[in-house]
């Protein structure tokens, strides 16, 4: 659900460090559900930009007015809620960032929310699923492709 609206269209930007070096890119996303969830359930993203995949180890997530956190840290936010109304910012580490112009982003979110107990529960405690396999994305089953213009 909300397939075409999960990434805000005008949100793709390069990110600079304190010294002005471009260290990656960011964009804004919403939860692909009709409700919010405890933040700990948020398991990362399948992100491919112009054919290059950026895995969880280069992703951090900024929400609730806090600094961007890795998904290992997010996992421990067991009493913090990601409210339905709120947009989060995904930060992807990539030296030099993205080139100016249009980019093709393939995108799928993984949030381990479900309707009660599932046969996969124990397995996902031991080994959380890889985002992009469809696990944790039951309301947007397919990888969605966005064409986004890099903003200044």
């Amino acid at each position: 659900m909300f397939d075409n609206f999960l990434i805000r269209k005008d949100s793709l930007k390069n990110e600079k460090d304190d010294h002005g070096n471009v260290i990656g890119f960011t964009f804004a996303a919403r939860n692909a559900n009709y409700r919010g969830v405890y933040l700990s359930l948020h398991n990362g993203y399948y992100i491919k930009v112009d054919g290059i995949q950026y895995k969880r180890d280069v992703q951090t997530f900024e929400i609730n007015g806090k600094e961007p956190r890795s998904f290992e840290e997010i996992k421990t936010a067991i009493w913090e809620h990601w409210d339905y109304d709120d947009e989060g910012i995904i930060h992807v580490k990539k030296e030099g960032g993205l080139a100016p112009g249009r980019h093709t982003i393939e995108f799928q979110q993984s949030v381990l929310a479900a309707y009660g107990y599932l046969p996969t529960d124990e397995e996902w405690v031991k080994c959380p699923p890889e985002p992009g396999t469809g696990a944790g994305s039951d309301k947007t089953k397919n990888i969605v492709t966005y064409e986004l213009e890099l903003q200044e």
Binding site: L41, D83, L112, V125
Partner: protein, 377 residues
């Protein structure tokens, strides 16, 4: 004799909230002012509340002032339970019950009369939370959602417990989707836009209608009575992609694939998923409600698409489910509780651009026209 009461689950306005067209007050105003006398509010805690599970104290005053201003009343709060919240272990029954108890107290504080739990909530969780429900005088209802039937284990275990103990605080919340007899036209159109063949849509509709009209019993042998629709859909998708699924589901999945293989040429995986829509039907009849009347906490008026009845301008129907039969039956039985509109068709338009999204406000108004007419107000 009293009358069936009308309300709305704010679930219906999920898209308007997503796009910030209607905030919580705007949704309550719409129910109070534009729905021909409807007054019931049903709300999902994790959708409508900011800072769940601890909204600031000022919020509660504001909430009651809205109820007064718009002439509405809190009826049911719908709650959730994601069992992987702690991530280092799967939540135990007691941990789920703790969360439910905390949600019951929150519902009480907001003036709700009922709390709806998910269809898949183990009855043990509800029983462990029951003393808190009794203390707060909140009725807990387990949602009975397609493909779960009214005459299966999930309902029986609730009824048995109520009969054994005499508790008045446990029951069921039937979802109108159990009276659906075919996939909605908006669901099928969505699948066609995703690449499914129109022949597959016609095939699934034909098989469902033959089953409904008693011309075939092809679907009756399939038992998915312990699964929620959302889980069946995502498990079928995973099965098609990776070949793994719970063992008891595999025969039903294979059967759906077989029907496409033998009837539709040039099919792809998505055609199997179209056929899988037939697995989401409960095949429930209105009379199945008879023995369950004392345990009905509230009813979800689920619908997928309200279209104008041919040659009857200004009147509406959902062509995928029976409303007339069950409402007639509920009236006959003297049901005095709420039917709360629960619109679920919006996601079937969200693959398109913003200009082609559907108006939830308009769909709910149409649904309330139908309810009012069938109830006979």
């Amino acid at each position: 004799m009293g009358k069936i009461k009308r309300g709305v689950s704010l679930y219906s306005y999920q898209q308007a909230q997503f796009f910030k067209e209607l905030d919580l007050e705007g949704q309550i105003r719409e129910v109070g002012e534009n729905l021909y006398g409807a007054d019931g509010i049903e709300m999902l805690d994790e959708m409508s509340l900011r800072n769940y599970p601890n909204p600031p104290e000022e919020f509660f005053d504001q909430w009651f002032s809205w109820m007064e201003k718009y002439g509405t009343t809190p009826v049911t709060m719908d709650v959730f339970c994601d069992v992987l919240q702690f991530r280092d272990h799967v939540m135990s029954i007691s941990e789920c019950a703790d969360r439910l108890k905390s949600d019951i107290r929150l519902a009480k504080k907001m003036g709700f009369k009922n709390v709806r739990t998910l269809a898949t909530t183990p009855v043990e969780v509800m029983i462990e939370a029951l003393p808190v429900a009794e203390e707060c005088d909140i009725r807990m209802g387990k949602e009975i959602h397609a493909p779960i039937p009214l005459n299966g284990q999930y309902v029986n275990e609730i009824v048995d417990y109520c009969q054994k103990t005499g508790t008045k605080h446990l029951g069921i919340v039937p979802d109108w989707g159990i009276f659906a007899y075919r996939p909605s036209e908006v669901t099928l159109d969505w699948y066609v836009r995703q690449g499914a063949k129109r022949e597959s849509c016609d095939l699934v509709t034909e098989i469902c209608m033959d089953n409904y009209l008693g011309k075939s019993d092809e679907l009756n042998k399939i038992d998915l009575s312990l699964y929620s629709a959302g889980n069946v859909e995502s498990m079928f998708h995973r099965y098609l992609k990776f070949g793994d699924a719970p063992k008891d589901l595999i025969p039903a999945f294979n059967k759906m694939q077989g029907m496409i293989r033998s009837n539709v040429s040039g099919y792809t995986d998505i055609d199997f998923e179209v056929m899988g829509q037939a697995l989401l039907l409960s095949r429930t009849k209105a009379e199945d409600l008879k023995e369950l009347m004392p345990y009905i906490v509230g009813i979800h008026g689920k619908f997928y698409n309200m279209s104008e009845i041919p040659e009857k301008p200004g009147t509406y129907q959902d062509i995928s489910m029976d409303y007339e039969g069950p409402i007639g039956f509920l009236k006959e039985q003297g049901y005095e509780g709420y039917i709360n509109s629960e619109y679920e068709g919006q996601r079937r338009f969200q693959d398109r651009d913003e200009a082609h999204l559907i108006s939830e406000v308009d769909q709910v108004r149409r649904h309330q026209e139908m309810l009012k007419r069938l109830i006979g107000e």
